[in-house]
């Protein structure tokens, strides 16, 4: 082998670091070759480009988000399994400290920013325009940019493991540990740039959906007529818009410290590391509500549908969502109570944090009483929803215990905390995303998923969950701190850790069942011909599955909530939701464009350039981005019309056209 290759392999592919990295290198190489080969063999490159890469259709973008999120769940999950294996017994030598540190860092980062975020965005895209009777989102082109920024940022973070080293300062990346002096090498840069790039996309998504919801609702749909999922998205958008810029700043300043030698968070020359922590959590706390509120929205839809009853206390539910999103902005200090900002500060933020329990509790009770005097059908979405309630209630309750500032002095950074946030993140967000995925699956793909394997997945994941995370509360009380790669025996930690690892494996098995279920579903392709397989209540179920690319031939006229249910009950005329031939007009649609993808590729190139300090790449990237933006600004020919005939023909085949 040539010398340069040796050098490259050692320095960037890190071959001397042992079988784990080498194995990953090989795996990634094989997977890439496999994908390229398959696409070439089946002549699918053109199809990939035309149908997916250049698309600005929210439905397809939603699907791409979801696939990416599931892939990232797998990546983060493998990380989790590796960590749990290392922690199963005291003094294990399965992973060394460096690898363990990299793995929990990427686990946390990927799960929150590259799994939970794209998963909620998937559901935003899949459901919101259909629920409010819109043709697309407000800015379809920007929507595509958001997706590709996320996608390439995820790629950037994921190549770090095999190319130069992963970040290893935790998903919170506190300086001075994350400063150049303590974390030399490209790992931390990967973290900063990947988050920065996806963060820009997220802000754009927040704006996009906010405008969509505020301004593109069907005729007659007042805000208080919106389905609760749409409300939850609006609440999440409020959080995104006001929280993400703080992350942008925190990351940018840390990057400046690292690449330009500034002193924002350094130990010397007057830097103040605590300010990073402050900025990080100004974003970080709202972030956890960003990922939970859409899950709440899903549960509201699912519970109403499968209890055959409108949601209980709709107004209260809306108020609670908004209250959580606003109060969520004044709680961030609870992540650093023990940094000692003084008793007055701690008291204020402790009580503000606890207050969140009140509106959240109201939601829980309203869900319970929606089921009360209802008729509960145990479908997969409903099972995940029902499983969510106890899991989240316990996790939320331990959250309230954490909010008790003096008590947090004992919980902080212990496994008690780890158990808390996995209960809310998995029991809340992940269960919610699974529920939403099952619920809207037929709407996305036009076919149903088989139940049986899904139920296996459900039970393994659920039981595994409790087995994995309940012992961690005990570990917290035993004084086990987070982020340790190994521990001595004799402290009583061994048994709970071992049990926890068994639970984690069970969750892994559950995940495998879920994948198997999806594969089986794709093979069987049991079509959903009704468009309304669950006997749904909201507008999206009035459309065929999957919806035509223009969604609604004519924008429906809505009066009240749950209009589709009302139509099915005969309380509203069918004609208010279905198109009449005379009303069909040419439909104004955005043109596809490859530029969002290309633009994001330039961001990716710029990211790589900054990670490794390669100035030419940054210049190319900067020019490329500027060029793309200018081209867009001068582009006037961005839309096209679908002629009436075509619409009429499609709708006639679908049997939707009214006289």
């Amino acid at each position: 082998m040539p010398a340069w290759f040796h050098q490259f392999a050692d320095k960037y592919l890190m071959w001397q670091e042992g079988p784990l990295i080498m194995g990953s290198d090989v795996l990634i190489l094989l997977a890439s070759i496999g994908i390229i080969f398959t696409l070439t063999y089946f002549k699918k490159w053109g199809w990939l480009w035309r149908e997916w890469i250049v698309t600005v259709d929210h439905k397809k973008i939603g699907i791409m988000y979801m696939i990416a999120a599931i892939l990232m769940l797998f990546r983060g999950g493998v990380d989790a399994e590796l960590m749990r294996t290392q922690l199963a017994l005291p003094n294990m030598h399965f992973l060394n400290a460096e690898h363990y540190d990299e793995i929990f860092t990427t686990h946390g980062t990927i799960m929150i920013l590259f799994m939970a975020m794209p998963f909620i965005f998937a559901l935003f895209n899949v459901a919101v325009p259909l629920q409010i009777g819109a043709r697309d989102v407000a800015f379809p082109y920007v929507n595509a940019i958001s997706f590709w920024l996320f996608f390439l940022a995820a790629l950037l973070l994921n190549i770090s493991f095999v190319l130069g080293g992963s970040p290893n300062a935790g998903w919170t990346s506190y300086p001075p540990l994350s400063e150049l002096g303590f974390s030399p090498g490209p790992g931390e840069n990967y973290y900063l740039l990947a988050l920065q790039i996806t963060g820009i996309g997220s802000i754009a998504t927040g704006i996009n959906f906010m405008v969509t919801i505020l301004r593109m609702r069907a005729k007659g749909m007042r805000l208080m007529d919106m389905p609760l999922f749409t409300w939850s998205v609006l609440a999440a958008c409020v959080l995104i818009i006001f929280a993400f810029p703080a992350l942008t700043v925190a990351l940018a300043l840390l990057l400046l410290d690292r690449v330009l030698g500034t002193h924002f968070f350094t130990m010397l020359h007057g830097g103040n590391p605590m300010m990073f922590i402050n900025l990080f959590w100004i974003w970080g706390h709202p972030e956890v509500y960003i990922v939970i509120l859409p899950a709440f929205g899903v549960f509201s839809e699912v519970i109403a549908t499968f209890s055959k009853k409108p949601i209980f206390g709709y107004k209260s539910m809306v108020f609670a969502l908004m209250a959580i999103s606003i109060v969520g902005f004044v709680t961030w200090v609870h992540h650093f109570f023990t940094m000692g900002s003084g008793a007055d500060v701690n008291t204020f933020f402790a009580i503000a944090t606890m207050i969140i329990a009140i509106p959240t509790g109201v939601k829980v009770f309203n869900w319970l009483f929606t089921m009360y005097r209802g008729r509960i059908r145990m479908t997969l979405p409903m099972m995940w929803t029902i499983a969510f309630i106890p899991c989240f209630a316990i996790g939320g309750a331990t959250g309230v215990m954490l909010a008790v500032a003096p008590a947090d002095y004992q919980y902080h950074n212990s496994y008690f905390l780890i158990a808390h946030f996995h209960q809310v993140l998995i029991g809340g967000t992940v269960f919610g995303m699974f529920a939403g995925m099952y619920y809207w699956w037929p709407k996305m793909f036009g076919f149903m998923l088989p139940d049986k394997l899904g139920k296996w997945a459900f039970w393994f994941f659920n039981i595994g969950f409790y087995v994995c995370f309940l012992p961690q509360y005990a570990l917290g009380f035993m004084g086990m701190t987070r982020r340790i790669y190994t521990y001595p025996s004799g402290l009583g930690w061994t048994v709970p850790n071992f049990i926890s690892t068994i639970g984690a494996y069970a969750m892994g098995v559950g995940f495998i069942f879920m994948v198997a279920q999806i594969v089986q579903g794709i093979i069987e392709r049991k079509l959903d011909v009704t468009g309304d397989p669950w006997d749904g209540r909201t507008l999206e179920w009035s459309l065929p599955s999957p919806a035509p690319h223009y969604n609604f031939a004519t924008i429906p006229t809505v009066s009240g909530r749950d209009v589709w249910w009302a139509v099915k009950q005969g309380e509203l005329p069918k004609s208010s939701l279905f198109p009449a031939k005379k009303d069909v007009k040419p439909i104004h649609m955005p043109k596809s464009s490859g530029r969002p993808f290309i633009l994001s590729v330039f961001f990716f190139i710029g990211g790589v350039g900054l990670v490794f300090g390669l100035l030419p790449l940054d210049i190319i990237a900067g020019l490329g981005v500027a060029f793309c933006l200018f081209r867009r600004s001068f582009e006037y020919d961005t839309d096209y019309y679908i002629p009436v005939d075509e619409v009429v023909e499609t709708e006639t085949t679908l049997g939707r056209l009214q006289a």
Binding site: P245, A246, D257, H263, F264, T266, H269, G270, G271, Y636
Partner: protein, 216 residues
């Protein structure tokens, strides 16, 4: 000319392939797409405001951390930053006049005022660069102290915004010159001016918190 408005509404319905959804509205809002974009841009401004707020917080916390290096009082030159301030205030005004003329449909005047605005912006950026270079020359670089890191980053971020604004305004001047004032170019003129006024507001706070309080 403005009296012919009503008559031209429907004629303009598909002028230049532009689909006018709301002829009764003010010109920048006449396409549905345009009014969505204006709302979207306002919300973007809200996010940008939070971004600057965080930079301000950083600056305020670090403003005394001069690490034995120069302080604001030693560095800042009152005439210099006052000049910059008045230039930017004036440019905000000229930008506003451009919007005003845009509403009256005066293509030539819109272009003129926009060019004036961009030139004022350019001289602002020039002065700021001169200020920065001077500081760097006397050893007050961004690496010198936490205070200077925060100063250059906060003021520099605003300067970058202004520079982007100038490029953007230039592209819009070209578009107005080429296409005249129609619902699309009008929307662009309106939005770039929103941006410009916003940067003026940010500068007022830089002027107050960074410079005035720096020399107090």
């Amino acid at each position: 000319m403005s009296s012919s408005v009503a008559a031209s509404h429907h004629a303009a319905h598909h002028a230049e392939g532009i689909h006018v959804d709301h002829p009764e509205r003010s010109v920048e809002y006449q396409t549905e797409d345009g009014s969505l974009k204006i709302l979207g841009f306002w919300i973007f401004l809200a996010t940008d405001m939070i971004l600057f707020a965080c930079l301000f917080a950083m600056f305020v916390v670090l403003r005394t951390h001069i690490d034995g290096g120069p302080s604001g009082k030693q560095l800042f030159d009152v005439t210099g930053f006052t000049e910059e301030t008045f230039i930017l205030l004036t440019s905000s005004f000229t930008g506003g006049i451009a919007t005003f003329e845009m509403h009256r449909g005066k293509k030539g005047r819109v272009i003129g005022w926009l060019i004036l605005t961009a030139l004022l912006g350019l001289s602002f950026v020039g002065l700021e660069l001169k200020e920065f270079i001077h500081y760097a020359h006397i050893g007050a670089t961004i690496q010198r102290s936490a205070f200077l890191s925060a100063f250059f980053t906060l003021v520099g971020t605003h300067g970058c915004h202004v520079s982007v604004g100038i490029l953007w305004m230039t592209s819009i001047i070209l578009q107005v010159a080429k296409r005249g004032i129609n619902p699309i170019t009008a929307r662009k003129v309106f939005i770039v001016n929103l941006y410009w006024h916003f940067l003026d507001v940010v500068w007022v706070f830089l002027f107050t918190v960074v410079y005035l309080m720096g020399v107090m």
